[in-house]
C-alpha cells in the first residue's frame, strides 16, 4: 500500500515546474483563441468599440460572398503543390546519402543554404524570375519558341502556381536536412541484407529507404501542411497587395489580413481565423490517425 501511494506524494511540485510554461501558453495561445472565437461572433467599430453579438452572421457573410470558398481552394492548391517537395526531398536526400559519394557534406550544405536566406530577399529575386516582360522564366520560354508566355505573378491561375513553386523551392532545404538525418538512423545492415537478397539500388530505395524514412516523411508532411495552410508572406512578398490576380489567388490567412487590417472588419476576420484553426486541427488530426497505416517506427 505504501508503495502505491508513492507517485501521489509529488503534491504540488509538478505544477510548480510546468506552471510558468502553462501560464505562458494560456496567456499567449489559449486566451487569444477564446477571445478570437468570441470576436468572430460579434461586430464592432474599427477600434473595437461598440462590440455587439451577431451570432453566426460573420460566417454566413463569408460564405455568401464566396471569398471563403476561393480562399480554401487556393490554400489547398498551394499546400498540395508544396507537398510535392517532400517526395522530391526524399529522393535528393537518398542520393546525397549514397555510400561512397564524394563531397556529400558540400551537397548537403548547398541544398540547405537557401533555407538560411531571408524569405523576403528570395521573394525579390523570384519576382524578377517570374516577371512577365523581362523574367528569366519567360526568356527561357521564348528561347524555346513559346511566344504567348504569361505574366506569371499577375494572371489568375498562373499566380498561384508561381507562388507555390516558390514555396516548394524554399521548402527543399529544410526537407532534405530532415531526410538526411533520418537516413543516418537507417542501419547499414538492412541495405547489405537487401543487396544479398539481390535487390538493386531502386528496389533498395523502395524496400528499405522509404519505409525506414516514414517517420521523417510523416513529420515533414504534417509541418508542410500546417505551413501551407498559413500561407501569407510568400503571397504578399511575391504579388503585393495591389495585384489584379489577388482576388482569385488569396489564401485564408491573406483573407484574414485583408478583412482585419485593410477593410476594418474585425468580426469577419476573426471568423476566418476560426476557420483556419479548425481546418488545421482537423487535417492534422486526420494525418495522425492515418499514420498508423503507413508510418514505420523501427
Amino acid at each position: 500500500m505504501a508503495r502505491r501511494r508513492g507517485p501521489h506524494r509529488a503534491g504540488a511540485w509538478p505544477w510548480v515546474f510546468i506552471g510558468p510554461l502553462l501560464a505562458g501558453v494560456a496567456v499567449f495561445y489559449y486566451y487569444p483563441i477564446v477571445s478570437n472565437a468570441w470576436t468572430s461572433l460579434t461586430q464592432s467599430g474599427a477600434f473595437g468599440t461598440n462590440q455587439r453579438f451577431v451570432g453566426l452572421d460573420n460566417y454566413a457573410g463569408l460564405v455568401d460572398r464566396g471569398d471563403l470558398g476561393t480562399a480554401v481552394l487556393n490554400t489547398l492548391g498551394y499546400t498540395l503543390i508544396v507537398l510535392l517537395g517532400v517526395p522530391l526531398s526524399v529522393m535528393v536526400a537518398a542520393m546525397i546519402e549514397l555510400p561512397g559519394l564524394r563531397f556529400a557534406p558540400l551537397y548537403r550544405a548547398l541544398f540547405f543554404m537557401p533555407y538560411l536566406a531571408m524569405p523576403m530577399a528570395i521573394a525579390q529575386v523570384f519576382r524578377l524570375v517570374f516577371n512577365g516582360d523581362f523574367g528569366l522564366v519567360n526568356q527561357g520560354l521564348r528561347a524555346l519558341g513559346v511566344n504567348a508566355s504569361p505574366y506569371w505573378l499577375t494572371t489568375p491561375g498562373f499566380a498561384l502556381v508561381a507562388v507555390a513553386l516558390f514555396g516548394l523551392w524554399s521548402s527543399i532545404g529544410f526537407n532534405v536536412i530532415i531526410c538526411c538525418a533520418g537516413l543516418k538512423g537507417v542501419p547499414r545492415e538492412l541495405y547489405e541484407a537487401a543487396s544479398l537478397d539481390g535487390a538493386g539500388p531502386v528496389r533498395q530505395f523502395w524496400a528499405v529507404t522509404v519505409p525506414m524514412l516514414t517517420p521523417s516523411i510523416f513529420f515533414l508532411t504534417v509541418m508542410q501542411t500546417i505551413a501551407g495552410f498559413q500561407l501569407f508572406d510568400a503571397l504578399f512578398a511575391l504579388m503585393g497587395a495591389n495585384n489584379p490576380a489577388m482576388p482569385q489567388t488569396r489564401s485564408l490567412v491573406y483573407l484574414f489580413y485583408q478583412l482585419g487590417f485593410v477593410v476594418n472588419d474585425r468580426g469577419s476576420a476573426a471568423a476566418v481565423a476560426m476557420v483556419i484553426l479548425v481546418f488545421v486541427a482537423a487535417v492534422t488530426a486526420v494525418q495522425f490517425w492515418g499514420q498508423r497505416r503507413w508510418v514505420t517506427y523501427a
Binding site: 468599440t49 512577365g132 503585393g240 495591389n242 490576380a245 482576388p247
Partner: protein
C-alpha cells in the same frame, strides 16, 4: 511621455474607452491659449522621410517660441503608419499631433479619436475641397497641410519620335486625347507605351478624374454613384484605352509599375499626380524633355484633389499645446517652408508660387491651376478602405476587358451601397 504611457496602460483596462466616448459628438474643443511658459511634452507622427526637413524645421521654430514644450517627431514608413496608428488608437495611446489622409479621417473622427479644430482657425486660405475633405457632419477635424492634383506628365521626346503633335492641352477633349494617344501608340510600336497609369491602386490617378469629367460621381449623400451611366462612361474611358493597346493591361502594370516605366523612358504620358515631382526632380535622366499638361475634358473639366492634414488626438494629455502645434505646422510659414523644399504643394493660398519655381519649364502651375479652378474632391466615407477594396476586386477585370464594365459597375454599386448602409 510618462503620462501617455500611463494612459496607454489604462487603455488595457478599458478606461480609455470611456475617455474616447467623452470625445464623441463634442463640437467644441476646450483649449486655452498657451504662452512661452507653457510646459508640455508632445509627440508628432508622420510618414514621409522626404518631408523630414520641413517637419524638423517647423518643430524647431515652434519650440523656439515655446521653450517649455518638447516635441518628439515619430517617423514611420507609409505602409506601417496606419497599422501602427490603429494599434495606438485602440490602446488609447495616439500621438498628440499627427498626419491624416482623407481616406482615413472619417474612420478616426467617427470613432471619437480626433479633437475638433477650434472655431477661430481661418479655413478661407485653403482650397475648399481640402477643407471639405476634413469636415464630417459640419465639424472640422484637420487643418490642411498640402495637396495634390492630377495631370499628364509628358515625355516630349517620345511624342516627337512617334511623329505626333499634341493638340492644345488647355482645350483638348477626350476624343482628341484618344486620337492623339492612339497615334502615339502606333508610332512607338513595341518601343514604348503611349499612356501609363496605375489602374491597380485605386482611382485617384485615373478613373476618379474621368468619371467626374463625364459628369458622373463615385459617392454622393452616402450612396454609390457607380451604377450611373455617366460614371460608367468615365470608367469605359480606361477599358477602351486598354483594349486599344494605348494603356497597358492591368497585369502588365502590376509587373512593371508606371513610375518605373515613365522614369526609364518607356512611356510617353504618365497620367498621375503632382506627388511625382520630387522623384522626377531627383532622378529623371533628362529633365528637359518633360512637361506637364492638363487632363482632357469631356462634359466637364476635372482633376481629383487630395491632401494631408494635421490632426490632434482627442485624448491628448496636452490638448492646448497640441492644438497650438497643429496650427503652427499648417501656418503660412509652414506653407513657405514646404514650397521651398519642393516636397509638396502647400495648402495655404499664395504659398504655392515658390513651388512652381522648383522647375519652371515643367509648367507645374497646371497642378495649382487645377486646384483653383476645376478640382473635384477625393471621394471618402466613414470606412473608405472597405469599398476601395471592392473597387479593386470588381473593376480590374472590367478594365482588362474580361467583364463588361456596366456589369462590374452595377455589381460594385450594389455591394458598395451595402457597406455604406452598414457604416451608419
Amino acid at each position: 511621455m510618462r503620462r501617455r504611457t500611463f494612459l496607454g496602460a489604462l487603455g488595457g483596462l478599458g478606461l480609455t474607452g470611456a475617455l474616447a466616448a467623452c470625445g464623441t459628438g463634442t463640437t467644441e474643443q476646450v483649449t486655452e491659449p498657451i504662452d512661452e511658459n507653457t510646459e508640455a511634452e508632445l509627440e508628432l507622427a508622420y510618414w514621409d522621410r522626404n518631408q523630414s526637413v520641413t517637419v524638423e524645421a517647423l518643430i524647431a521654430s515652434f519650440t523656439e517660441q515655446h521653450p517649455g514644450i518638447t516635441v518628439t517627431p515619430a517617423l514611420t514608413g507609409p505602409t506601417d503608419y496606419w497599422t501602427r496608428l490603429r494599434t495606438q488608437a485602440e490602446g488609447g495611446n495616439l500621438p498628440d499631433v499627427f498626419w491624416m489622409s482623407g481616406l482615413h479621417v472619417q474612420l478616426y473622427a467617427s470613432n471619437g479619436m480626433l479633437a475638433p479644430v477650434p472655431d477661430d482657425v481661418d479655413f478661407g486660405v485653403f482650397p475648399q475641397a481640402m477643407t471639405d475633405l476634413y469636415t464630417m457632419d459640419g465639424v472640422r477635424y484637420g487643418i490642411p497641410k498640402d495637396y495634390d492634383t492630377i495631370a499628364c506628365w509628358v515625355n516630349q521626346r517620345l511624342v516627337e519620335e512617334a511623329g505626333v503633335t499634341l493638340p492644345d492641352p488647355e482645350t483638348w477633349t477626350w476624343e482628341e486625347f484618344g486620337e492623339t494617344t492612339r497615334a502615339i501608340a502606333a508610332g512607338l510600336g513595341d518601343r514604348a507605351r503611349a499612356v501609363v497609369t496605375d489602374l491597380n491602386i485605386g482611382g485617384q490617378q485615373n478613373w476618379y478624374n474621368t468619371v467626374a469629367q463625364a459628369g458622373g460621381y463615385i459617392i454622393r449623400d452616402g450612396r454609390s454613384g457607380y451604377a450611373e451611366p455617366d460614371t460608367i462612361r468615365g470608367l469605359e474611358f480606361w477599358s477602351n484605352l486598354v483594349a486599344d493597346g494605348v494603356v497597358p493591361h492591368p497585369r502588365e502594370i502590376a509587373d512593371n509599375p508606371p513610375q518605373t516605366a515613365f522614369m526609364s523612358g518607356l512611356a510617353a504620358i504618365h497620367h498621375t499626380g503632382s506627388w511625382e515631382t520630387p522623384a522626377l526632380l531627383a532622378d529623371y535622366p533628362d529633365p528637359g524633355e518633360l512637361v506637364v499638361v492638363p487632363l482632357p475634358r469631356d462634359r466637364e473639366r476635372a482633376s481629383t484633389i487630395h491632401g494631408l492634414a494635421y490632426v490632434v488626438a482627442a485624448n491628448s494629455a496636452n490638448l492646448s499645446a497640441a492644438s497650438a502645434l497643429q496650427r503652427h505646422m499648417t501656418s503660412e510659414e509652414a506653407g513657405r517652408t514646404d514650397a521651398a523644399n519642393g516636397t509638396a504643394i502647400p495648402a495655404w493660398a499664395g504659398t504655392a508660387e515658390s513651388w512652381h519655381e522648383v522647375k519652371p519649364e515643367w509648367n507645374l502651375s497646371v497642378f495649382t491651376d487645377a486646384a483653383e479652378n476645376y478640382a473635384v474632391p477625393y471621394p471618402v466615407s466613414r470606412n473608405t478602405a472597405a469599398w476601395n477594396q471592392l473597387e479593386a476586386d470588381l473593376l480590374t477585370p472590367a478594365f482588362a476587358g474580361d467583364v463588361p464594365m456596366a456589369q462590374a459597375a452595377e455589381q460594385l454599386a450594389q455591394q458598395m451601397d451595402e457597406l455604406l448602409a452598414a457604416e451608419r
